[in-house]
């Protein structure tokens, strides 16, 4: 007696479900992946006790030692109350910080400027080697007792 031989089906593996899954993964990754690299500037705020000590020690000499950068409303920059171009700012700060990198730098921002302009100046100071940056509002009457200090990029 002869049996009919069963035909061997040599179908390939069905890849369609695999492709479906991979497509879903790609769409998920495309939506959730961010190519914008978020960095940060570390800020260290002096505690209130430190601040009080600083205020108490505010002498004429100390005020003179502070590097003052003012950002005016129409993109006018002042370095120690003298108008300065944005291109010269970095080199000038670098020169001022040559002998003492720990000199305090106070950036005062006018009401109309935006965060990007302020961060640009902070960035410049950090690149120039500034360690102690304070930020405050730009107001003629504002005293020099500020505020928020940043830790420099190049201590």
């Amino acid at each position: 007696m002869q049996f009919e031989r069963r035909r061997r089906y040599t179908h390939g593996i069905n890849l369609t479900p695999l492709i479906d899954v991979i497509f879903i993964l790609i769409v998920y990754l495309m939506i959730t992946t961010s190519f914008v690299h978020i960095n940060s500037i570390e800020l260290s705020i002096p505690s209130q006790a430190e601040e009080k000590n600083r205020e108490a020690s505010t002498t004429h000499a100390r005020i003179q030692d502070i590097i003052l950068i003012d950002i005016g409303a129409q993109n006018i920059y002042y370095l120690n109350s003298v108008i300065i171009g944005i291109d010269e700012l970095e080199t000038s700060i670098h020169k001022l910080l040559k002998n003492d990198k720990d000199r305090e730098i106070l950036i005062r921002a006018s009401k109309n400027i935006n965060v990007q302009q302020l961060v640009d100046v902070m960035d410049m100071v950090r690149i120039a080697g500034g360690n102690h940056i304070s930020v405050n509002h730009w107001d003629e009457k504002t005293s020099l007792t500020s505020s928020t200090s940043t830790k420099g990029a190049h201590p």
Partner: protein, 134 residues
């Protein structure tokens, strides 16, 4: 005269999907390696550009300042005046708590300075300002 040509047999081979799977897997690996996953933000902000920024060390307390002066404190809508009591309460729990400030580059610097001053007055000491790499 009647010439009969032999008809060519039609070969209907299925399209091979293997190269496609290869390309898709390469795409997946590319996305995994080149990008970084981020949680979907409630408030889409574009941080200021800075060259000297360092790797972001995001603290447990995040304050977001949106481009229309919205204030988000740990994903909850608030205002600048809410920052002071919240930070004060947080500082009582842990003095060294890191506060991350994410501000849109288009907002007024005075708003940012107001927030910084509020944090300082509340006793916050460790603050990081998010920036975008150039």
């Amino acid at each position: 005269m009647n010439i009969e040509f032999e008809r060519r047999a039609r070969t209907t081979r299925p399209i091979s999907l293997i190269p496609m799977v290869d390309i898709l897997l390469v795409l997946i690996i590319y996305f995994l390696l080149s990008g970084s996953l981020h949680s979907i933000e409630i408030l889409e902000i574009s941080p200021p550009l800075a060259q000297s920024g360092e790797e972001l060390t995001q603290g447990p307390l995040v304050i977001v300042l949106g481009k229309h002066d919205e204030v988000l404190i740990n994903d909850e809508l608030g205002s600048v005046s809410d920052i002071f009591p919240l930070i004060k309460a947080e500082m009582l729990k842990d003095k060294d708590r890191v506060i991350t400030l994410k501000a849109d580059h288009r907002i007024k610097a005075s708003t940012l300075i107001d927030v910084m001053n509020a944090i300082r007055e509340a006793g916050g000491e460790n603050l990081t300002l998010a920036t975008q790499a150039l």
